[in-house]
């Protein structure tokens, strides 16, 4: 089975490296700001509320210093993601008691008209994050190109 390109999901305008953040809220604020600026979401406040709602349901730290918060909301204009590589690890509820050094924030729209293909790409992206060599490269990324490279085969 040939896979469509992940590069259509990765947007260098929503990737930040060496982010100096002290808390989960800092990271979510920075990433949602990028998503707002690039037109992925209409309201930063509404999207942050959706992300927090998901956080209440359980840990989004998937282990290995990676967190994948996500929010599904009407305010989402485009399904996609924003990625932050942090200067220092911060506390984040996770499956293995580690914090977060890399944060991948997914946007998911409430309506799914025409978005299926994009969502399929996001699911492939999630599958990539299950691979330890991908995570390793991500944690050491120093630029948006490094981040994109981490997901390349």
């Amino acid at each position: 089975m040939s896979e469509p390109s992940l590069s259509t999901v990765l947007d260098r305008n929503t990737i930040v490296t060496d982010l100096a953040a002290r808390s989960k809220d800092d990271v979510i604020a920075a990433l949602t700001q990028l998503l707002l600026k690039q037109g992925y979401i209409e309201s930063q406040e509404a999207f942050i509320a959706a992300v927090h709602e998901r956080e209440q349901e359980g840990a989004t730290g998937i282990g290995g210093h990676v967190a994948i918060p996500h929010g599904r909301s009407d305010t989402v204009r485009k399904n996609g993601m924003a990625i932050a590589i942090l200067r220092n690890e911060i506390p984040w509820e996770s499956l293995d008691e580690t914090g977060a050094k890399a944060v991948v924030l997914f946007t998911v729209g409430s309506n799914d008209d025409g978005a299926q293909e994009h969502l399929k790409l996001l699911s492939m992206f999630a599958r990539k994050l299950a691979k330890s060599q991908v995570v390793e490269a991500l944690l050491h990324a120093r630029s948006a190109d490094d981040v994109i490279g981490a997901f390349a085969d």
Binding site: R54, G63, F106, Q116, S123, A126, A130
Partner: protein, 103 residues
């Protein structure tokens, strides 16, 4: 042995697929045949066939929500865990499946 299963999480965009990949990798490393169906936002993918289910030694459900067509597994050995467990300790989970099946 042959493991089949389903993964499904609440939003159906991330954990579903992480769990699928982790379990598949762990099972392959243990020398097993494995096929995990995903029930996510984009619908059902990698769907299990009746043959898959008939051939399986055990069924693994890594699910946080009610799934579609669970009755397919009636009469099979079924182990149900959360997607978190599958993502966190896939190797331990596969070892436990082996213990249950006795293979």
């Amino acid at each position: 042995m042959k493991i089949v299963g389903v993964s499904a999480c609440t939003i159906g965009i991330a954990h579903t697929y992480l769990a699928q990949q982790k379990v598949e990798d762990a099972a392959k490393a243990a020398g097993d045949d494995v096929k995990i169906e995903t029930q996510g936002t984009i619908g059902i993918e990698n769907a299990l066939t009746p043959e898959d289910i008939a051939e399986a030694d055990i069924v693994l459900l890594a699910v946080d929500v009610k799934i579609a067509n669970e009755e397919r597994f009636n009469g099979k050995k079924v182990v149900k865990v959360s997607t978190d467990t599958a993502i966190k300790s896939p190797n331990k989970l596969v070892a436990k499946l082996h213990e249950i099946v006795g293979k």
